[in-house]
């Protein structure tokens, strides 16, 4: 299978989280597509009376732009999740925590250095 150069993969992981891996350069389009994929899985969970916990991997993101930031804020605002836990390098943690504040969702959206820290916080929301 070819490796994804730029984009987002979204899936339900075995622990029951919605998991997303962002890879490469992120634009308004890639993030909006990811938000739509999120929405689909979150609605499925809602039908099962389950709250959505979303785990986001940003470790392979190479760049972002203003449009991708706006799309992320929109996603944080419209998707009915319980918590979004993000992990990745420091500049992206700073960016996502800031966007979380802009979206007024920083209590439910947090960014961490490692996957284990991110999962630990996500589990506290279940």
């Amino acid at each position: 299978m070819d490796k994804l150069i730029s984009g987002v993969t979204t899936f339900m992981n075995p622990a029951g989280f919605v998991e997303q891996h962002y890879i490469g350069a992120q634009t308004g389009r890639t993030v909006s597509t990811a938000v739509a994929a999120d929405m689909k899985l979150v609605k499925k969970l809602q039908k099962q009376n389950k709250e959505a916990l979303i785990l986001v991997d940003l470790t392979e993101v190479t760049s972002t732009n203003l449009q991708s930031h706006k799309a992320a804020i929109k996603g944080m605002t419209i998707v009915p999740y319980r918590r979004v836990s993000i992990y990745g390098p420091l500049p992206l943690r700073i960016l996502l925590n800031t966007l979380g504040i802009v979206a007024d969702r920083h209590e439910n959206v947090k960014a961490f250095a490692t996957r284990s820290e991110a999962i630990e916080w996500l589990k506290k929301g279940s």
Binding site: H69, R93, I94, N97, T98, I101, V102, K110, F112
Partner: protein, 222 residues
Amino acid sequence: MVKKRFVRCILNISDLFESSTTRSYRKKHVIIYEGDPVSTIFYIKSGYVKVYNILNDGTERIIFIYGPGDVFPLSTYLSGSRAIRYFYVGLSDVKLLTLPSEQLERKIRNDIAVGETLVNYTVLINLQFLERIEILSVNDARRKVVALLAFLVIKIGTKSPISRLSIYLTHQELSEMCGLTRESTSIQLEKLRKEGVLLGKRATDINVTKLEALKSDMSIVI
């Protein structure tokens, strides 16, 4: 309304501190202790603040200097860290504008222009931080001192061709900034003085053209 805010130009960070309280600290006064919670964000109106940690052997290692117009500890706050990792101390007398972190949060909320400004500023400061930490880990005394001088020209120096540092730093302070003994630092400074990079007896005047040439020879990127 929201759309209008989205297209607004990147603002000046100092605007966020309008009607903030001014606090004055004397030189050597501790402004933030390592381990303190991130409850207040500071904007430097005048003066300089050094950021340091204490090594296992008890020596002080100055990691960074903030000057007028800088904001701290913004990176720590926006990275989501609960506690401060370093000591922040007046390197000179300082005047600071203060903003409780909850108030800053209110100013960021629903305003992407503010968010983008703070993120861009923080990314820049983090790059300088990383460059400093990288230099501290190098095992080459000359390289450390040259890189430190380049950093000082940017942070506390006047514009070229002869940059004058705004504050006088002792050889002890300079050695704490480059992770060398005071003696090794003095030897390197003396060599640079003989080469015409440093001018005068005190290490406060720097020939920027010669410093740039040295940086280029040594592939130092600051």
